[in-house]
Subunit: 339 residues, 3 copies
Amino acid sequence: MRLIKTKLSITVFLLMSTLSYGFQVSSLDRLIVQGNSFVNDEGTTFVFRGLNASDPNKLELQGHWNKAYFEEIKNWGANIVRLPVHPTDWTERGKESYLKLLDDGIQWATELGLYIIIDWHSIGNLKTEMYQSDRYDTTLKQTYDFWRTLASKYGDNTTVAFYEIFNEPTTYNGALGTVTWTEWKTINKEIIGIIRANGGEGIPLVAGFNWAYDLTPVLEDPLDVEGIGYVSHPYPQKREKPWEDQWTKDWGFVKEKYPLILTEIGFCGPEDPGAHSPVISDESYGDAITAYCDEKDISYVIWVFDAEWAPRLFEDWNTYKPSRHGKYFKKKLQSYTYD
Amino acid sequence: MRLIKTKLSITVFLLMSTLSYGFQVSSLDRLIVQGNSFVNDEGTTFVFRGLNASDPNKLELQGHWNKAYFEEIKNWGANIVRLPVHPTDWTERGKESYLKLLDDGIQWATELGLYIIIDWHSIGNLKTEMYQSDRYDTTLKQTYDFWRTLASKYGDNTTVAFYEIFNEPTTYNGALGTVTWTEWKTINKEIIGIIRANGGEGIPLVAGFNWAYDLTPVLEDPLDVEGIGYVSHPYPQKREKPWEDQWTKDWGFVKEKYPLILTEIGFCGPEDPGAHSPVISDESYGDAITAYCDEKDISYVIWVFDAEWAPRLFEDWNTYKPSRHGKYFKKKLQSYTYD
Amino acid sequence: MRLIKTKLSITVFLLMSTLSYGFQVSSLDRLIVQGNSFVNDEGTTFVFRGLNASDPNKLELQGHWNKAYFEEIKNWGANIVRLPVHPTDWTERGKESYLKLLDDGIQWATELGLYIIIDWHSIGNLKTEMYQSDRYDTTLKQTYDFWRTLASKYGDNTTVAFYEIFNEPTTYNGALGTVTWTEWKTINKEIIGIIRANGGEGIPLVAGFNWAYDLTPVLEDPLDVEGIGYVSHPYPQKREKPWEDQWTKDWGFVKEKYPLILTEIGFCGPEDPGAHSPVISDESYGDAITAYCDEKDISYVIWVFDAEWAPRLFEDWNTYKPSRHGKYFKKKLQSYTYD
Ligand SMILES: [Mg+2]
Ligand SMILES: [Mg+2]
Ligand SMILES: [Mg+2]
Ligand SMILES: [Mg+2]
Ligand SMILES: [Mg+2]
């Protein structure tokens, strides 16, 4: 997806120009990092506008893990889908069975020309192995093994463009112990090494602290690893309006030197189901964050294409009827023009 | 409990002056560290004379986890009770069920005006995760989680005055691998941070090596954390008689600058059940250690208010008939005058 | 076993001179390190020519864990047998049950005058706790506990001459994460300390990276621990012919200063069952490695005295009929003269 600025509009070009809806492709371009962008081997920049799936295991147990789900994601205007693999789902379902789910999802995404981010969806402090809740429990050993497994199996699959190493690093204000930026860099570098040594040709994505909001340490102390991107999750209540200058200082500056992807954004009204800090806001947040990203060619992925998790993008599984949040982003995603 | 020296006797004042036996209080004063003492918010010093319970899980399985047990502890003259939570009991019973036991114990103690020390009762080397026996098995991850859980649940409960981070650190003369004082300080500091970030307002207690006997490293290299106390377990056979000068050099000096609490003392004769090094001695040990503590306002807690564990303080559960060890300390504890 | 060079032949002397086949001894000499050799308390050098058993648990499940198996090993000319304890077998069988197997094996070996190497038979990176396959899974905690257990139980048993800390350290070209030589030395030193503090009087053996092939870091940076030996597994395909100068540079130089034992050597033809890199070669490898070891008094142990594992030394359990590999080494081992 190329973002081209004209005087009239922002037009996003899907580079797989032979792709149209209903047409099946067999493989997508391999993406790599060039300067501060994601590019294909011809050097064309891809900017992503996508949707977060809920956990494939959750979807499968509900009977929603099927191509129709991916088709609807495509229909909403996404060119990428993020798959949040919860460590406890991975453990409970078992590695072999979970991989079968991913096999299917990757195949459907490929056929629809959707790129995939595999996201190890834990929240907490991987150094002390303490998490926001038991739901997110894992170990460093399991995390290494997950990425070894994923890289071995999907490392040369071009659809699986991104490996998001750890969803939301946080010490929860110290409740989960301490971890320094230096320690966090070391953990990420070890995992990136493991991914690459096991054949992972995709792009590792590294998140900062404060539930993946804060990338300020990157200014002085980026990872000394080539070919990676950085992640932020700038939900509306992480800062007070007006957001833009704070966003630039907290994470937006990263895009001057490195590729940047907001793998979770979104909002809901205080009356919406599951409303919780930091996601409560309104359409003004949608306008601000999308304008910010369109202006700077920053990729983003909206949380979450599900009827139960919050902020939900649709209200029921039969009709995919958009929520307030869903209405905003469905319209916005569909406004981009793919080449 | 305030220790006031008069020319006639040492009189220990219980500061909750409205409390008399049979009178129920609803909460105790919050204790904090001031200089080398434990004080309440009015700055009055508390010195503790207490008893060790056996593991609440053990007591519950035997049918002894009830208010009568706490009443008897109170009746013996204690103003504090230490609850030794064995990691394997915690694991086997399960967190939720174990917390219900603690809920009850804390309630009974509160009603009786008894303070509580929660003690993570492992013995060994938390760095290498090797222990004196399988009975004491835990991990650093579980230990972090235990303190997070305890601090979250009881952090603002003033009865739970003390968090004893790790009962008896020892490398068992290297059999459990190595750990340096610097490494041990780092582990304790991490846990103290976790306790406080989760709302633990009580006082963390830090033990030294040699089964919590040796505090000599504190002389040159104390933890750089405010508001904590130190622990020693000076059982009689840790040193040869006369003990006093050695005690001062090994751990007593700490009281010049920091609060100090001997969370395990006690003795039994060689003929007593369960007699084992380093607890075998006689009443001369009782005289020496209590005189030492009375002189220096050092708190102590006697091991153990149980009929089976050694050195046992009583001989049977129906009558609480004191053992030789129990006779000595029951009389001693009852000699203190509470205000 | 003493290696004495004469002009006519290399004669290997078994120092337990009263021992002949069928005669039972009750204990073997305690071996220690002196300079670059293994010696008994009289300073006589022992050089080993031995065979690898397969895992005792595997043998027991097949009905082959019996004295006849050890007699056949003895009959082939071995003076040492290596027992590869797979961590997953240790875990699945359970510690107590597995120790009973070892009790038996050690007893049979003692009766036959065979020394034993206990080998913790994992392959991978103990720092990141990632392994070549699930078969080799363990943790640092389990590894510490294994050696504590072994040293406590067999530490004063002179038959158990060697403790091979970790079979084959490898990062698998980074697929199992990173580990530096300094980190590897620290892990080994911790384990050696644990072994010795638990009464292990035998000789710890330390392996290098690249599946225990590469000892080059020892040149500049040996472990600062006395009384240990080093290990290499120079299978034929680790280097191209001619091997000798490369062997000297890669691991042979170690013997100039430290005792060295090749705890796995062996070959098979490409047509043999289980043939795999790096073991495929022919008798020229046998000639080269045995001449190299005979010349330099380097001990070696051939992999593997089993009919299923590769390279197998015999073809069936009823007759112990040697494979091609077995024919070569049976003849070679039997050519040594024991005193
Ligand atoms: Mg192309
Ligand atoms: Mg989130
Ligand atoms: Mg004790
Ligand atoms: Mg001798
Ligand atoms: Mg091998």
